[in-house]
Point group: C2
Chain length 340, copies 2
C-alpha cells in the first residue's frame, strides 16, 4: 500500500483512470453506482490525490499564500495577526486548501521571494496583509494575474478586492462614547500613520470631535505606531496637555498607555478615561478591563478566504470590497461603569 495513485484505484475499481478522476473532482458524468464503488475503494485505501501532480496538470493550485510584507515586528507583537491567521487557517481547512505563510523580514527578502509567489500555478491565490501605504506588491500580483485579496484597506483601493473593518466608524463610536460621558479634552494615541488602519481611526476620531463641536487640538494627537512601547511614549507626550480621556487605536497600545498613565500617577478611569480598539485578549486582562471597539478579526480572516475562493473561481472582476462592522464593548476603563 505504499503509494496510491489514480491508476491503482482505477484498477481496483475496474474502471479507467479518468473515471476515478471524475469522481474525485465531483464531475457529474459518472453513473451513481460507479461513483459509489469508486468512493468506497478510495475510503478503504485512504487514497489522497497528489497535490503537485494535480497542480501541474491543471495549472491550478490548492495552496493559498498569506503574505505579510515587512514590518514583521508588529506582526509578532500584536495578537491581531495570529487571530487573523487563525480565521484564515480555519477556512482553508474547511475548503481543503493548504495555507502557506510568507513573512518578509527585510526589503531584500521581499524582492527575492516575491517572484516565487507570482510564479503562475504555484499559489492558487494570495491574501495580502497590507502594511505601509505604498504597495508595489499589489501591482505585481495584478500584473501576474494571481488572484488575490487584501486584508485591510489598501491606499489606492479603486480596482482591488479587499476586506476590511469599518475603522472610521469604529473610532467615531469610541470617541462619541467618551464625549457623551462628559469628557471634553479628548486625545488620541493613533495607530501608525503610514497605514490605512491608523489613518482611518484617526479620521473617525476627528469626525467625532467635529460633529460634536469640539476643537481639534494637534497636541492631543500622537502616533503610537501600533506598539506597546510606542504608545507608552506617545502617551507621555500627550499627557502634558492633561486630557481627560484618550482614544487609543489598538488594545496593545492601550496597555502601553495605561502603563504611562500609571507611571504618571494617573488613575484610569478617574483621571483619564480610556477606550481601545480590537477587543483581543489584552483588553480583558488590562487593569481596569478595557472598554474597546470590537472588530471581528477571526471572521475577517475566514471571509477573506471565502471571497478569495470566489475570485479564483469567478474571476477578478468586479473587485469585491467588503467592510465589516464593529461593536463598542463597554467595560471599566471608560468610566461608564464607575468603580475602577
Amino acid at each position: 500500500m505504499e503509494n496510491l495513485t489514480l491508476e491503482k484505484i482505477a484498477k481496483l475499481a475496474g474502471v479507467s483512470r479518468s473515471t476515478v478522476s471524475r469522481v474525485v473532482n465531483a464531475h457529474p458524468s459518472v453513473r451513481p453506482h460507479v461513483r459509489q464503488k469508486v468512493l468506497e475503494i478510495i475510503a478503504e485505501t485512504g487514497y489522497h490525490p497528489h497535490a503537485a501532480a494535480r497542480s501541474l496538470a491543471s495549472n491550478r493550485s490548492n495552496i493559498i499564500g498569506l503574505v505579510f510584507p515587512r514590518s514583521v515586528h508588529a506582526v509578532f507583537t500584536d495578537p491581531y495577526f495570529p487571530h487573523l491567521t487563525q480565521g484564515i487557517s480555519q477556512a482553508c481547512n474547511q475548503h481543503d486548501y493548504m495555507l502557506s505563510l510568507f513573512l518578509f523580514h527585510t526589503k531584500e527578502e521581499e524582492r527575492n521571494l516575491f517572484p516565487r509567489i507570482c510564479r503562475k500555478g504555484v499559489l492558487g491565490g494570495v491574501i495580502l496583509q497590507v502594511g505601509q501605504l505604498e504597495n508595489e506588491s499589489i501591482a505585481q500580483l495584478s500584473a501576474n494575474e494571481i488572484p488575490f485579496i487584501v486584508a485591510g484597506r489598501p491606499s489606492h483601493a479603486n480596482q482591488v478586492s479587499y476586506i476590511d473593518v469599518d475603522n472610521v466608524d469604529g473610532a467615531y463610536r469610541a470617541v462619541t462614547h467618551l464625549i457623551r460621558l462628559g469628557n471634553s479634552s479628548i486625545g488620541t494615541i493613533a495607530g501608525a500613520l503610514d497605514t490605512t488602519a491608523g489613518l482611518d481611526r484617526l479620521h473617525g476620531y476627528e469626525r467625532a470631535l467635529a460633529e460634536h463641536g469640539l476643537p481639534l487640538d494637534d497636541s492631543l494627537v500622537a502616533d503610537g505606531g501600533f506598539t506597546e512601547s510606542g504608545a507608552y511614549e506617545a502617551t507621555r507626550r500627550v499627557l502634558s496637555c492633561t486630557p481627560d480621556a484618550l482614544f487609543v487605536a489598538s488594545d496593545v497600545m492601550a496597555v502601553g498607555a495605561m502603563r504611562a498613565l500609571r507611571d504618571a500617577q494617573l488613575s484610569v478611569p478617574r483621571d483619564v478615561a480610556l477606550v481601545g480598539f480590537d477587543d483581543l485578549p489584552p483588553a480583558l486582562s488590562a487593569v481596569p478591563p478595557l472598554t474597546t471597539v470590537r472588530q471581528p478579526v477571526q471572521q475577517m480572516g475566514f471571509r477573506a478566504v471565502e471571497v478569495l475562493l470566489d475570485i479564483i473561481q469567478n474571476g477578478t472582476e468586479p473587485p469585491r470590497q467588503i467592510v465589516l462592522g464593529t461593536e463598542l464593548v463597554i467595560r471599566a476603563s471608560c468610566g461608564a461603569n464607575a468603580r475602577s
Copy 2:
C-alpha cells in the same frame, strides 16, 4: 515572457533542457562558461523553476509543514508561538523552502487533515509543535517516513528528533534566584501540567527547593494552564497561603498573576516577588518589569529548520536531540533591584 520553462531557457542559451536543469541544481558536470551563460539568461529572464513540476518529478518537496495540534487557543494567545513561527519562517526563506501552516482546531480536523500531511512527496519535512502529552502524530509521521522534528520535548523522546530549551534548568535558576534573595515561602504558577514544558518547569522548581533545603508545599503549587486567566485564578488560590515569592512558568501567566496580586492589594515585589519565563514582550511592558528566564524562541525555530534540513538530506538516524540554554534576566519584579 508569459511562462518561462526550462525548455525556453535552454533554447535561449543554445543548450539542452538537461543542461539547464543541471545548472539550476548545481550539478558539477557543466563546463564553467556554459554554466555562466545559462545563469545569465536565468537572471535576465527572472526564471524560477516550477515547484510542483519539480516535486512531481523528483518526489521531493520544498515545502516544510508547521503543525500545531489542537490547543490552538493558547497558540494564539501566547506570543511564544508567533515568535517561534517567525524564526522558522526566516530559516525557510533563507534556505529557499516554502512554509505551510497546519492549525488544527478540533480533533476531527486533525484526523481529516493529517493524512494529507503524511502523503509522501507533498511535504519535504514537518516541524511538529508538541501539545498535550500523548502524541499519535509522531507515530503517524514515523510510519509514513516523513522527515520531522519536534519543537519542544515529546513525552516519549527515545527515538525522535527534537529541539527544546532546558526548561528544568531555567526554572531551577529562577527559583534559586528567589531563594538567594531571601524568600522562603515560594510558590509556583505552573504551566499546563499535561505538557512537557509545564512539567519540566515544575521539576526545576521542585529541585531548587529540595537542593536548598526548603519544604515542598503542594498548596503553593497551582496549574495556570499557560493562559493569563488561568494564571489569575491559580494565583488567587495560592495566595491563601501567603507566599512571599512566586515562580510563574510563562510571561503571559505572570501578567495574570500580577493582576491577581493587584486585585488582592499586594504589591510586587514588596509583598510578593515574581519571576516569569520566556522574556517575550509582555515581560517588558509589565508593571513592574518582569524578571524572567529568557529562552531563545526565535532561534529555536530557526535551528529547527536547519536540523530538519539535515534530517531530510542525511536520514532520520540517529535522532538529533538539541537542548538550548536559558538566561535569567533580572528586572524589577523579583525585588533584586529594590524600588518598584
